[in-house]
Structures are given as C-alpha cells and as structure tokens.
C-alpha cells in the first residue's frame, strides 16, 4: 500500500462489491475515513448505503474488494465482534440496549455479566460507569432505567458505550431520525467532541442540511456506485442532489389539464398526538393526490388519523360535505373510505385465510344481515380475481402463499368490492416487482375515472409520486411543506423540499399557488 494514504486514513475501502441473490448492490465502491472526520454517506433508498456500513461493521461479508484499518488489511475472519475489538462501533437506529437495566449496568455490561464469582461486583460496575460517563459532556443519570430514557438519551448512552470500548470509528445510521430539534443539537455537540477526540465518524442520513452543518466530506452512492466524494465546505446542496439523482427527471405523465373538480374529501384542522400543528387538506373528485416525504415525516400518520386508527383530538373530516364519524375504522369505512396500510402482511391481510375470505372481508363488515350468501360471495371473489388478475391457484388458496404484488391486489380488491369511493394507499408498491407495480398504477387510474371517487397516494418513492399523482403534497417533520403540480415540478425540487427542515419554511396550505 502507498504509505501516504494509509497515514491519514483510519479506514480505507477499495473496490467493494456485494450481491444479494444475483442482484448487484455494490459495484466496486471506494471509501476512506480520516481521523477526527465526519464522513457522510448519502444516497437514495437502495443506493447501497446500509449494505456498505454493514460490511464495515462486519454484519455482511463482501464478495470482493479490499479493506484496511489503519493501513492493515481486515482479518480474514472479520465479524461484528472483531470490529468491536478493533474499535469500529455502530450506533443502530434500533437500540441494542437492555431496557430493564440501568444506565450504569448497560455501560458495564461486560463486568456485570462476566464477573467470576456468583455475585455482581457492584463497585466495579459503578466505577466503570462513572469513567464512561465522565468522558461525556452530556449528563446521564447512571441509576436511570434505560426503558425510561428518551430516544436521544438512549443514543447518548450508546455513544458512551462505544467510547468505553475505545472506539476509533463510530458508525451512525440515521441518528437524528427520531430526535427533536434540541436533541439534535446536543447530539451535534457530542459529535464535535468525538471529532476532537480523533474519532472518525461515518454518518448516514437523508437530511442534507444536517450533513452540511456537521460533516467534513460526503460520499454519494447511486445504484451501488460511489458517484463522488466531495468536501462539504465547498459543495452546494443543488450539486449534491443532482449527483444523488443522477438524471434530470420530469414527469412522464403528460395529461391535459382536466377541469377542476369538486372537493370530495376535506380534512379540516385535524389533530392527533403525532401532529404538533393541525393538518388540513382537500381531495377533489377523480383526483390522485400524492403525498410524499421522507420516512418518518408523518405521511402514514395522516392516513391513520384519517382512517380513525389514531385518536383524533380535534378537527373534522367530511366526504361530499357530510361529516365523517371518526371514532373507529369501522365508522370511517361506512362513509366510503378504504385504507391500504403500509405493511400489508401485518395490517392488510388475514394471511392464513383464503383469497376469497380476504377479498370479501370489508364488504361483509359493511353489511348488516346476520347471514351471508356463500354462493354470491364466491362469485364476487372469482370476479375480483379475474378483473384484478390476481395470480393464485384459486380463490380458496391461502393468501400467505401469494407473491407480494398479488397480495397487494387482494388488499386493493377488498376495498373495491366493498364499494369504497376514496382509497388511501400507503406505500402500495413497496417491495413489489415492476410488472405488478404497473398493474397497480393501472388500477388506480381506472378507479379514478368515475366521478365521486378519489385516491390519496402516499409514497416516499418520488419517481412514482410524479408518475401517478395529479397533485403532490410534500411532508416534512409532520407538516405539509409544499404543494406541487407534477407537470411543473422536478424530482430535484421535491427531494429538496423533503429534506428541508419544516421549521425554516413552514408552509400553510392555501398559501401555495
């Protein structure tokens, strides 16, 4: 190795490739990390960020490539345990803490679990905890139970644990996703401290502004390639977004402007525990309203509030001018609204029931008689299976054996058969192959051809939002931050809006256009 680069790089990756089931996820990625530097990784979903950090942390084995830690190649039996021994530690989004133990016990977990005698050496536990906490400028009560800590404090504890293990590299995966503004600031304070202690930080985040604020360099990944590594003091946001997306994207949905339709569904000043400020929106007849935003921006919460799942503390919803009773999903279903949840297996389907039984569930829930006619149920199910082109052996096959796309069509069919007029679709194409995706777009299009119907299409995939929507609302931090016409906007503009913090440019609906 050339001695020059190894002197300053604490970590160096060369030409890393990785495939899953024949799909190339990383196609020869190079990456290096210097001491005391925050090096951000940026890319769209599926660009390869998490695969890369998992290779660094030892969770995945790379297919090919070379990895160096302080100039030395990684040991051949590299694993998460060895990574930890070397000083490469990962702060996960889902915390690896023991919730029922105290801060001190978690910090000294090794002493706690492997003391040679029968009894715990409490003095040693306390001593180790004190040493670790004293290194941090952030106050943590060693006697607090971890389960009572806020997300931010848990994160600080994870960092303290990493420090106590003599970390030289700390990997942070979306560390601010669940933090408030103030908590984010104290995390950044901590990060500054880590940098002065010569610890290198690999930082994965969608939030560009954050990266700009605390980062030194950024590597942009796209489709498994490292597109560029930039110095963040010089790079511009626009340039970074363009590199991330790679191409000028415009809507390929070239429809003539249809005359403005009447409002069908209006949400007025709706408030649940999730929303700091009430939200309002209007969906018009024959319209596909796209709602996009990053993961955790509040899109799903809008759907859940609207469907009566989360308790609504104030505000009203009306369909066709009539107020909707929002006490439960049941009462909302009766006003003609259907909800395709984000997680179809755990929320949308009864997996060990048949295709037929799933297809008619909402229809039966709406009926009032005690008995139902099994013959006409069969006809309904067979009809739906044909018109939606659900590929199953027959209507009696259990849903769990269907592919993702066919499962999703069953959930859609459930609402179509129930005669609902407004469909809320939450990430309807997640994990679905391209063929079934297009079929679902087709079904949405057909559905909105008749009057008195509309679709709310929620997705974090900006390409599909541009393709499917008639109008786009952008969410960030539980606020609507923009309303866009898909024919007049671009992917860059939308992503920029998604990543902007809502606090800076709060946007009220109605002020737009």
């Amino acid at each position: 190795m050339s001695s020059f680069s190894t002197v300053q790089s604490v970590l160096k990756l060369e030409n890393i490739t990785k495939s899953f089931y024949g799909v190339k996820v990383l196609r020869g990625v190079n990456f290096d990390l210097r001491k005391g530097e925050l090096h951000a990784l940026l890319g769209e979903n599926g660009a390869g960020k998490s695969t890369l950090i998992k290779i660094i942390s030892g969770a995945y084995k790379m297919d090919a490539g070379r990895t160096f830690f302080k100039g030395e190649p990684f040991p051949s039996n590299y694993s998460p345990k060895i990574a930890e021994e070397l000083g490469i530690l990962t702060i996960y989004q889902h915390f690896h803490l023991v919730p029922h133990l105290t801060v001190a016990e978690n910090l000294a977990i090794t002493a706690y679990t492997s003391s040679p005698g029968l009894f715990v050496d409490w003095a040693e536990v306390r001593r180790q905890a004190k040493v670790a906490l004293d290194r941090m400028r952030f106050p943590l009560d060693p006697n607090a139970r971890v389960k009572d800590l806020s997300v931010a404090k848990k994160q600080m504890l994870e960092i303290a644990i990493a420090l106590s293990k003599n970390a030289e590299i700390i990997i942070m995966d979306e560390p601010t996703a669940a933090l408030s503004r103030n908590e984010t600031e104290s995390l950044f304070g901590m990060i500054d401290q880590l940098k002065t202690e010569e610890i290198g930080i690999i930082y994965v985040s969608h939030r560009l502004e954050e990266i700009k604020q605390i980062g030194d360099r950024v590597t942009i990944l796209r489709d498994g390639n490292d597109i560029a590594t930039l110095d963040l003091r010089e790079a511009e946001l626009k340039q970074i977004i363009a590199l991330m997306i790679g191409r000028e994207v415009t809507s390929n949905r070239k429809q003539e402007n249809s005359p403005l339709q009447n409002p069908l569904l209006s949400i007025h000043e709706l408030k649940t525990e999730h929303f700091p400020d009430p939200v309002s929106l209007v969906v018009r007849e024959k319209e596909v309203l796209g709602i996009t935003g990053l993961v955790g921006s509040g899109k799903t919460e809008v759907a859940r509030a609207l469907f009566g799942v989360d308790r609504v503390s104030s505000g009203t919803i009306s369909v066709d001018g009539r107020k909707v009773d929002m006490r439960s999903p049941r009462s909302v279903v009766h006003s003609g609204i259907g909800y395709l949840p984000e997680d179809r297996d755990s929320q949308g389907l009864c997996l060990n029931l048949a295709v037929r039984e799933n297809l008619t569930l909402a229809l039966l829930a709406k009926q009032k008689h005690m008995f139902f006619d099994r013959d006409s149920e069969k006809k309904v199910a067979n009809g739906a299976m044909q018109s939606l082109r659900i590929r199953a052996r027959n209507v009696l096959q259990q849903v769990k054996y269907l592919s993702g796309g066919n499962k999703q069509k069953v959930v859609l069919g459930k609402w179509l058969e129930a005669g609902c007029r407004i469909l809320i679709l939450d990430e309807p194409t997640m994990g679905i192959d391209i063929g079934a995706r297009n079929e679902i777009y087709q079904l949405i299009h057909q559905f909105t051809q008749s009057s008195k119907r509309a679709v709310i299409f929620i997705s974090s995939d900006v390409d599909e939002i541009l393709e499917v929507s008639d109008r786009i609302l952008v969410m960030s931090n539980y606020h609507f931050v923009g309303e866009l016409d898909p024919r007049k906007t671009s992917k860059q503009e939308i992503i920029g809006m998604c990543m902007s913090s809502a606090a800076n440019e709060r946007f009220r609906l109605g002020q737009a256009s």
């Binding site: 439960s328 009864c350 997996l351 060990n352 039984e357 569930l361 039966l364 008995f371």
Partner: protein, 321 residues
C-alpha cells in the same frame, strides 16, 4: 426440532392437513381396537353411553372452539359451568319453576361469559388472564351462593333432560349435543359473525382495519361460550340428579383438549367446529375404553393430557412444512 423429510412423511403430512378426516380415522381405529379387546365395547348401550358422556364436554368445547379460532382461550368454563348451575338450581329450589330455572342457568352462564368479554375488550386484559380471573371468581360465587352445599331435589322433568330417551334409544343429551353443533357450525360457516371470528384470529389488526367491530365479536363469542357452559351444566345436573358447586373442575382441560385434538390451531384463524366434536368423542372413547379395560381411573387424566400434547405437537409439525 428436526424431522426426517422422506417421501412417505411428506405424504403423511398431505393427508394430515385435513385433520378432521384423520381424526375420524383415528377414532374408528380406536373403536376397532377396543372392540377387539372387549366384547362389551361395541354394544348399543355402550356407544350410546359414549355419546351421552360426550355431551357435557362437547357442548362446552363447541363454544371454546370459536374462542380459540378467534385467537383467545377460555379457562373459566368449568367455573362458569358450576356457578350458572348453582344459580339455576337455587331458583328451582325456591320457585319450583323449571322453565325459569333453565333460563336462569343459561342467562347467568351467558352473563359471566360476557363479563369475560368485557374484561378482554374494554379493560384490555389478555384472554388467558381474564378467564383465569373468572375461573376463580365464578368458582367462589358458586360456593358462596350455595354455601358449599350441593343442591338436590330436582324434579323428574328436570332429570328427563339428562336421562330421557327419544324413541327409547337416543339419549336426550345426544340430541342436544347434535343440535348445538349444528347451530355453532352454522354460525361459523354461514354468518358474518363466524367469518369475523376467523378474521380476528388470523389477524386482528387487519380485521379492525377492514371495518370489523372486533369488540362486539369478542364479547359475543365469550358470552356464547358462557351460555353453552350453562346448557352443559343443566345436562350434567339432570344426569346426576344433583348440582355440585365444586362440579366442572378440570373441564377447561377437557374442553380445550377436544378443540386442539380436532386440529384447531391455538394460533387462531384456523379450525373447524365439527372437528371439535370428533375430538370430544375421542376423549370420551379414551376414558370409556380405559374404564372397560379396568385401568385405574386416575390414568385417564394422564392419557388425556398426553393426547393433547401430541395433538398440538402435530399441529406445530405441520406448521413447519
């Protein structure tokens, strides 16, 4: 756990999928073996005795089946059985009104079941704990109401329910048993309630998000199960000629056993009512057979418990496939 997966085993699994059929075959096999071992077994008297003995547990198990399909469990059936019987019996002692006494037994059983449903849906207590609490409470109430003293002096009309025979052959309890199964089977297959029970057991969240009134369904099936406990209590009282405040203990084991032997999954969403009837007959056959063969009666509990473990392990094994 690992099983050999040879060709033959795969075939066995395929056949076992329809557990009702395989259980029926096992039942016939047991009958053949017992008939060979004892000439007394295959007499009209003994077969009718088996159906008669099945009635008490079988009726409770019918209600239990719907609860288990919904993903729940009812541990309080034996106590509700005793408590509702005592309430009806006391009313009969006081008024000598048979009709009022029977209605009171059924209604009180249904009421206690509804209280289970209330605990589960409104107080959000898990079914296991809610009905465990009811197991204690209903038993205590049965003892308090009766002051611990068994109730005697049931009229011949009351006794006919347990001891009478239609056309001199078919015991009345057998008729009631078949009627109950016809009705519960009908509910499970032809009513919206029945469909919702399956949907809730399969995925309660999805059922809720499809607009099903989950709380109402849960309340209804626990109340229904309580009512069937009352009915079962009437039959036992009429057979024995007495109402025991300590009666029905251990019936939860037999009733849950009948359900799982019938192949209904404790994970919810899968199972059939008719299979439970077969399961209940299998349980009775085991007891009856051991009796005839002169095996110590206490062994019945051991064998019954072992059969339940075996039935659930078969279910788990199929699940792995």
């Amino acid at each position: 756990m690992s099983f050999p997966t040879s060709e033959s085993l795969i075939k066995v699994r395929g056949v076992l999928n329809n557990q009702a059929v395989s259980m029926l075959l096992i039942l016939f096999a047991m009958w053949v073996v017992l008939a060979l071992l004892s000439p007394y077994f295959f007499t009209v008297g003994n077969i009718s005795e088996i159906t008669l003995q099945t009635a008490v547990i079988g009726i409770i198990a019918a209600g239990q089946t719907l609860i288990i399909i919904s993903g729940g469990i009812d541990l309080s059936v034996g106590s509700i059985f005793a408590c509702s019987g005592v309430v009806g019996g006391l009313l009969f002692q006081g008024t000598s009104n048979l009709f009022a006494a029977l209605i009171a037994t059924l209604v009180f059983g249904g009421l206690l079941g509804a209280v289970n449903g209330f605990f589960i849906t409104r107080l959000r207590v898990p079914p296991f704990i809610a009905t465990l609490g009811m197991l204690g409470m209903a038993r205590g109430l049965a003892l308090i109401f009766s002051r611990g003293i068994p109730i005697f002096g049931l009229s011949p009309e009351y006794l006919w329910i347990g001891q009478g025979k239609i056309f001199e052959v078919i015991p009345v309890p057998t008729i009631i048993l078949l009627l109950v199964y016809a009705i519960v089977f009908g509910i499970s297959r032809y009513t919206r309630l029945g469909r919702f029970v399956y949907a809730i057991g399969s995925n309660a969240e999805a059922a809720l998000l499809s607009g099903i009134n989950i709380k109402w369904v849960i309340l209804a099936i626990y109340a229904g199960c309580g009512l069937l406990c009352g009915l079962s209590s009437i039959i036992e009282a009429a057979r024995l000629g007495t109402i025991q405040p300590a009666g029905g203990s251990g019936y939860e084991l037999l009733a849950i056993g009948a359900v799982v032997i019938g192949g209904t999954s404790l994970f919810g969403g899968e199972g059939t009512v008719i299979a439970t009837l077969i399961g209940a007959i299998i349980e009775t056959t085991i007891r009856n057979g051991l009796n005839i063969l002169g095996v110590n009666a206490f062994w019945q509990y051991v064998v019954n418990g072992a059969v339940i473990i075996a039935a659930v392990s078969v279910d788990q094994w199929k699940r792995q496939a």
